[in-house]
Every structure is written in C-alpha cells, then in structure tokens.
C-alpha cells in the first residue's frame, strides 16, 4: 500500500485489468449498464405511453401488441417495466449517495477522534446497526406523511432509505481509519503540521477508497430492494411508475387469484437482475481489494 | 534413511512457473542432523515441505523422488502418505505464527496425532501428551491451557512436544528460533540438541541463520535461487567454504573470535525464479563470476565428500 496519494490513473487501469478478468464482475457490470441504458432510452424504446389506459384491453396476457400483457386498467406492462427502471435507479443511487456521505462523515470522525467523541459515535453506529431497518423506514415514512409536508414522497423515500443505510459504510470507514491512524506517515504528517482535515483527505481517504466504493455499490443494491419494498407496501408515491408499485397494484387487484403471472413475474425478475448486478460488482471489487478473500496466502 | 534426488517443485502462477526448487539432492541417515540454509525465498522451506508433500494447491512436485526408507513419497498414494505424516516424519513450524489452533487446548492438539496414528484410549493419549509437555520443560499443569496463553518461546516448545508425539524418526524444524529473542533462542537450541541425543532423532533444520546450524547440525546444504550450491559436513563447510555464496553468508555474520571486521552483506538481490538465468544463478552477485558462469549451469564438482556447484572450484 503506498503511503502517499496513489497515482490515480495508473491504479485505475491496473485495477480494470484485474477486474475484467473476473467473470462475476463483468457480468454484473453488463447487467447494470443494460438497465442504465434502458432507463436512459425509455422514451425511445417504449412502445406505448406507460400511463395510457385502454379499457378495452385489460387483464391481457402477453400478446403481439402488449409484449408483457396489460394490467387491470389497460396499461401496457412492457412500457411500464421500461419506465420503472428509471425510478429504481434514481432512488437507489440518490439514497446511496446520502448513506455514503453520512456514513463516511460519521465513520471518519468516529475513527479519527478517539476518546469521548469517537466512542460515542461508535455506539451510535452500533445502535443503527441493531435497529431493524424496515420497521424504522416504515415509521419514518409514516411520520412524514402525517406531517403533511410539501416534499414530494419520492424524495421522502430517498431520504428515509438514505438515513437508515449509513451504518454499514460508517463501520467500514471507522475500522479502516483506526488501522491507518496508527501508521507512521500520519505521525509524520502531524509533525510537519498538517491539519486534521488535510491528513484525512490526503492520506486516509485514498487507502480507504476501494472498500468504500465496493460498499457503496452493495448499498445501492440494498437501496433498490428497500425502495421496491416501500413502494409495494403502499408507502411510496402512488403516482410513480415503479416496479414496486406495479407489484403493489397487482396484489391489491387480486392478480394472484386471477393468475395474472405476467403482471407479477417480470417486475420480480427485473428487480432480481438489477440487484444481482450491483451485488456482483460490489463483491468483485471487494475481492480484488482484499487479497485474503482470493484465498492466497498474502 | 531419507534420499531426496533431483527434486523439482514449481509454483503455478498466471505468468508461468516459479521454479522454487530446481533439481535438489540431499540425503540423511539415521540420527543425522542436516541444516538447510539460504536466504528468504531460496526454496528451502518448499524443499522441506515437499518431503511430505505439504504444498499449497498451486504448487506441485514436477520431478525427482523422495525416498523414505526406500519408498518414494512423491508417487505414494494419499492414504499411505497420511500414515507417514507425523508418525514417521513430523514438522515443527514457527511457534510464533498461528501454527496452533487458537480454539483447542494444547493437550488436545498434542494428543490428536497420537489418537490418529495409534490404537490408544483417549485417556492414554492425553496422559502421553501431558508427559510430552513436561518433557520440553513446561509445567504439566499448563497443558490444558490455550495457545494464546503462552509466550512465543513456550509455544515453540509446545510445537516441539507436539512434533514428538508419535515418536517420529525424522523431525523437520522450520525456522524454529527465528522469531525469538536471544535467550529463548539458546534455550530452544539446547532443548533440540538434547532431544537429538536422547532420542536418536534425525532432523532437518531450515534456517537462514548459519550460527544455529553451526551449533546443532552435522551436515549442511546451502541453497540459492532454488538450486543447491554447496553440501558437506558442517566442519568442512565452515572451515573451508567452497562456494562464493557460502563464504558470503559466513562473512555476513559477525564472528566474536575473528578479526575485527565489519560484517559484509552480499550486494544485489535474489534471482527471479519465474525466469531464472540459464547459467549460475549466483553469478550476477558473485565477485568471481565471468563469462564461463553465464552459459550452461555449472557442472557438479565433488571434492571428497564436499559437494559444490561452481565453475570456479
């Protein structure tokens, strides 16, 4: 591990060489890029307007016009599936952004400042790890609803997922900071008079970066699942077109009893693929950054 | 008793093969103590581990034979090999490492091979284990403790006790004193010498520290870059080192009785074992090297019982 700021570009190309050798990593990347493409190209590749209703074509299984069939109102499910990609990605990424920022900040401070502040923050991190996440999210969204704030529910959801998911990141950052803190070069930097922030930014962050990135990718996976679950429970924005909402309406309209598998299976499969994609990428990066996980004697 | 002939053990990596042990021979009789010396990475540990085929999954014995009492270990079936392990040939790893299972009691770990290889009751095995603990100078009471409750030196003793559990004929000691302080080092050395005499044990001692070999071994084999460069009895080697590397090694250790000179380190660095040079592997660092040493590998010259692989002798 280099002791000064790692030359970023050189490490990046070296990293890519190793990464592209990992089947898991490449497959995950393909999946994720595929969904990003669909989200970006939605207006161009969607055969219908997803909110368009056709009362004469309800509850249809997949056919030549509606490739994934229609729902109870006559929406074309294929179009809805395509547009649903956007919500999942947006919520996933933004919520993760919040989690990472909060988690990194708390992790950094907790690790860097020992004694009272550090210990206290460590307890806070552990506390958030212990709290069951789904009930917490439900309670938070319920409260926001009761407050009748003007904030659009989509952003409420993003915010709630973000502030319940930071503890994993914080834990990783904290342990990395603790181990790096003891090293010689930090002492040297301090002796030369470098300020605290400078030390953290210049010396600690670059070493911590790969693990944080891996953790961030895995957090996106979790955030997508959380968003889908909240939508399904009816806590999200009922007007948005998302995979979770599709399933919510499917269930509330007895799609199960009507055997409308085309309404139920595709959203699930899409969720699985997207989440798997992010997870595979995250695991690959973790394996590459942590040599022991590769099983060789370090 | 032990004949290692033309042993070749390579490690498989993405870019090819690392020739860690390249055509090495040595022999051991009953009750003999052989020292296997060389710097880190020269292949000595790999060579010793090859004797019982205790290699990581990416390493394999590519050629040669390891004859133990006439039988070739390299070609042996796994079942036969497992019966030889520890019962005939055991190993003392560095005790400072994590070579002991942290969640098992010492007495259980020592009794484990006894129960495996011999038909004894659990109680008998534990009894023997406790006796062995005492044998190496540790209070019997401590046998039921866990590894983390012992100091480095004591863990080394435990490793020795464990290695003797099945009364083996040959014990391989891998850097047994390297991580210890000088006082403990001497104690362990004394213990090993004592055991060698009492039990007529054959031993192979792996180390980079020539002084330990001088103290405890009968013969010495010096390895460099995966190859055997000198092989003779200890007295001849130290009084009359034939290979430049050996002389370099000896000079690198300060001698209390010798003239007051600064120890000389050997300039340069070890060869790349992935693509080793064709000629003598020590040539790049050798003060006596010339054109002769760069073409084919040097011929083996035998000088009575003193073997050396060098063009210049």
């Amino acid at each position: 591990m280099s002791e000064t700021l790692i030359p970023f570009r050189r490490n990046l190309s070296q990293f890519w060489r190793v990464y592209s050798g990992s089947k898991k990593g490449v497959l995950g990347l393909i999946l994720v890029l595929f969904f990003f493409a669909i989200a970006a190209l939605a207006p161009y590749i969607s055969p219908f307007d997803p909110s368009k209703i056709d009362p004469s074509r309800t509850w249809l299984p997949p056919n030549s016009v509606n490739w994934l069939g229609t729902d109870w109102f006559g929406h074309d499910l294929f179009s809805q599936m395509i547009y649903g990609t956007q919500v999942s990605l947006v919520v996933g990424m933004f919520a993760t952004l919040i989690s990472i920022i909060v988690g990194t900040a708390i992790g950094l401070f907790s690790g860097y400042y020992g004694k009272m502040l550090g210990e206290f923050l460590e307890r806070v991190i552990d506390f958030f790890l212990v709290i069951p996440y789904l009930p917490l999210m439900i309670v938070l969204v319920a409260i926001f609803e009761a407050m009748e704030t003007p904030i659009p529910i989509l952003w409420v959801v993003i915010f709630v997922i973000g502030i319940t998911g930071w503890s994993g990141t914080a834990r990783i950052i904290r342990s990395q900071v603790l181990s790096v803190k003891e090293r010689q070069f930090v002492e040297r930097a301090r002796a030369v008079g470098a300020g605290d922030f400078r030390i953290m930014a210049k010396h600690i962050l670059p070493n911590v970066f790969p693990l944080v990135f891996a953790n961030a990718v895995l957090t996106v996976a979790g955030a997508v699942l959380a968003e889908v679950t909240l939508d399904f429970l009816g806590l999200g924005d009922v007007m948005t077109i998302s995979w979770g909402m599709l399933l919510h309406f499917a269930l509330s309209n007895s799609a199960v009893y009507r055997g409308a598998w085309w309404w139920i299976v595709p959203p699930g499969v899409a969720i699985i693929l997207l989440v798997m994609g992010f997870t595979m990428i995250g695991y690959s990066i973790e394996e590459i950054s942590n040599p022991r996980l590769r099983g060789r004697k370090a | 008793m032990l004949d290692v002939n033309n042993l070749r053990t390579f490690y498989r990596v993405d870019e090819g093969y690392v020739k860690a042990v390249d055509d090495v021979d040595f022999h051991l009789d009953e009750g003999e103590a052989l020292g296997l010396a060389g710097e880190s990475g020269c292949g000595k540990t790999t060579a010793a581990l090859s004797i019982v085929r205790l290699l990581p999954s990416n390493a394999s014995i590519m050629g040669g034979e390891v004859l133990y009492k006439g039988q070739d270990i390299v070609k042996m079936s796994d079942r036969k090999l497992r019966r030889i392990r520890w019962k005939e040939i055991s190993i003392v790893f560095q005790g400072a490492m994590n070579a002991l299972n942290p969640v098992k009691r010492i007495v259980d770990q020592i009794a484990e091979p006894i129960l495996l290889h011999e038909e004894v009751s659990k109680e008998d095995a534990l009894q023997r284990a406790r006796k062995l603990v005492e044998f190496v100078g540790i209070d019997k009471v401590r046998a039921k403790d866990y590894p983390h409750e012992f100091s480095g030196g004591m863990r080394q003793r435990v490793m020795i006790a464990m290695a003797l559990a099945c009364s083996p004929r040959l014990v391989i000691l891998d850097e047994p004193t390297t991580a210890l302080d000088v006082m403990t080092k001497t104690q362990i050395q004394e213990l090993v010498k004592d055991l060698q005499k009492r039990l007529t044990l054959s031993t192979i001692l792996i180390t980079h520290d020539l002084s330990v070999i001088a103290e405890t071994c009968d013969k010495v084999a010096i390895m460099y870059g995966g190859k055997l460069v000198e092989y003779a009895d200890v007295v001849s080697t130290f009084e009359n080192p034939l290979h430049p590397y050996t002389s370099g090694l000896i000079r690198a250790f300060p001698n209390i009785y010798g003239s007051r000179e600064l120890p000389l380190s050997i300039p340069g660095s070890p060869p790349d074992l992935l693509h080793p040079p064709d000629g003598c592997r020590f040539a790049p660092r050798c003060s006596m090297a010339d054109k002769e040493c760069s073409k084919p590998p040097p011929a083996k010259v035998v000088n009575g019982n003193h073997y050396v692989a060098c063009w210049k002798r």
């Binding site: 309670v139 679950t229 429970l233 399933l247 969720i271 595979m280 | 790893f93 002991l100 969640v103």
Partner: protein
C-alpha cells in the same frame, strides 16, 4: 484479572439495557418531531373511539406536562411494558402485541434455525471447495435468493402452490372455525399453513448465512494451523471438521447478529403476504389505520427482539472463543 463470564455478561447486559433506553427515547422523539399539535396525531378523533379511551391515552402521553417530564414518564412506562392503548383494537398495546407475537416467534424461529443450518453447512462446503462447481452453484443460488424481494417470493409461491396447484392454504395460520380434536390435528393444520411462509423466509435468509460462513472459511483456510493439521496426517474432512469450521464459526456468529435487523424486515414482508397473524401483519394494520401508538409499541418490540438476539449471540460467542477476555 477476574475471569468471570458472569461479570462480562453483566457488563454486556448493561450495554443492552442502555441501548433499549436509547431506543425508547428515539421512539419518543420520532413522534414528537411532527409539527403541530401532537394530540391531533397521537390521539385520534372519530372512528367511534370511546371517550374513555381518549382520556386514557391523554393520560398515557401526558401531553399537558412539560417535555422532559413526558420523556421520563414515557421511558418508565415503556420499561414497565405499558405501551399505551391501541385505538383500533381498543385494548392495551402490550396485550395486542402479546397476542400476536407467538405466531411471529414460531415463524421466525423455525425459518432461521433451518436457514442457519443450511446456510452454514453449504457455506462451509462452498468455501472449502472454493472456485469449484459446488461453490459456483451455491454462491449463484444464494446471490439470486438474496436479490429477491421477500414479498415477491411469497407471492410467487402462493401463485404456484396455493392458487394453481391448491396444495397449501393461501394464508393465515389456521383454518378458521376449525375445532381441533387433538394436538396432532392442530400441528398438522398449522403446519400446512406455515410451510410456504417458512420456505419464503428461509430462502431469503439462507443466502446471508451462506456468504458469511463461506467468506469466514476462506479466511481461516489461509491460517498456518491448517497446515499443521494437514501435516499431522488428518484427512481433508477431518481438517475441515476439527480445525477449520470451529474457527470459521467465530466471526460468523458475530456477523449473524448483525443480520437480525434484516430478518425482522423479511418476517414483516412474509407475514403481510401470507396474512399471517404475527406482529408483521399487525404493523401493516397499524399503518393502514394510522394507529401510531400501536406502531410505536411495535417498533419498540422489534428493537427489543434484535437486541435480545444480539445479546444471545454475545453469550454464545463467549463459549466458543477461548480468547475472549472477561475483564
């Protein structure tokens, strides 16, 4: 150095207790954060709520008293398991939860035990045969089930087995209005109802345990004492069983404790899908009917369960790792 396991655990239970208190305070603050008159939100009007109930709730929350006093009395009351009154069920929250909790414990208990046994054993073999076919299949399978939304898996199982094939009942925990003549009939009936929920929850949890054990095992395999074990002449199975797995279990137990937070979420979803009358279903009802007092009580119980599970993991850990210092 006092090597007392009891003292160590006493210390840990103090931490657990403090965490419980923090949860209660957190719970309290959550609902006070709302602007406006808390009374409007916490104490419902209309809905045929009897005045006596409103009065009791007003008393419970003590809304006319200053905030610090409210907080203290709330903490004390909650610790005494006085969790207020559910306006929807017209009964004390604690009683309502107590009635529905056993079903959840049954579901989660069975599922997690199976998931841990399956997950750990599969993970151990996968780690041991790292990179080979078993490992690839196991990790791919685990990856897929982990990426599945729990509720979706439940829905699919219902569709296939209950609706299409008619093998299992669609929901609930027992056949309504069925009078049990003997215990076996009861077990059989409950069993039929609980199979699909158990499968759902087990499948989703199992992946986590698999990965935890697998990674732990791969780490342990690189340790030197594994080489020593092989050198002794032990077979690969013996090395795995006697040396690798016992050490791989240690970090696995601690990591499992962290997974408990997710298990509650999974159980919640499963109960909702299968209309299984446990506290997950109760949570859903509480949201539907905006019964915030009930919701608060449920959140508290959820957190308690996770804290207890963590504490249990701590206890177990002291028995399996001899290096734990009891100072």
């Amino acid at each position: 150095m006092a090597r007392s396991r009891a003292a160590y655990l006493a210390r840990k239970s103090t931490y657990a207790f403090i965490t419980v208190v923090i949860v209660i305070v957190f719970n309290f603050l959550l609902f006070r954060v709302m602007p406006g008159d808390p009374a409007r939100i916490l104490i419902p009007r209309g809905h045929n709520v009897p005045l006596s109930l409103i009065a009791r709730m007003r008393e419970f929350y003590g809304l006319d008293k200053p905030l610090p006093t409210q907080l203290v009395s709330y903490v004390i009351q909650t610790l005494q398991l006085n969790l207020g009154y559910s306006f929807y069920y017209k009964a004390p929250v604690a009683d309502v939860i107590a009635a529905w909790l056993p079903n959840t414990l049954l579901l989660v208990g069975i599922s997690e035990v199976i998931a841990i046994l399956l997950g750990f054993s599969t993970g151990a073999i996968a780690g041991w045969r790292r990179g080979k076919r078993f490992d690839l299949f196991a990790t791919s399978f685990g990856l897929t089930t982990w990426s599945m939304p729990t509720f979706w898996l439940g829905i699919v199982l219902i569709m296939v087995f209950s609706v299409q094939l008619g093998i299992f009942p669609v929901g609930g925990v027992r056949t309504a209005e069925m009078a049990y003549t003997n215990i076996f009939q009861q077990i059989g009936d409950v069993g039929m109802h609980i199979i699909l929920p158990v499968i759902t929850l087990t499948l989703v949890s199992f992946a986590e345990y698999l990965m935890i054990m697998r990674n732990s095992l791969v780490d342990v395999m690189t340790e030197d004492f594994v080489l020593t074990a092989r050198a002794k002449g032990l077979t690969e199975q013996q090395v795995l069983r006697d040396h690798v797995v016992p050490n791989a279990l240690l970090p696995s137990v601690t990591t499992v404790a962290i997974a408990f937070g997710f298990i509650v979420g999974g159980a919640l979803q499963t109960e909702i899908i299968f209309s299984y009358p446990g506290i997950g279903m109760l949570t859903y009802m509480a949201i539907e009917f905006r019964d915030y007092t009930l919701l608060q009580g449920l959140f508290f119980i959820d957190a308690i369960l996770v804290i207890i599970a963590n504490f249990a993991a701590d206890i177990i850990y002291t028995y399996i790792d001899p290096r734990v210092k009891f100072q």
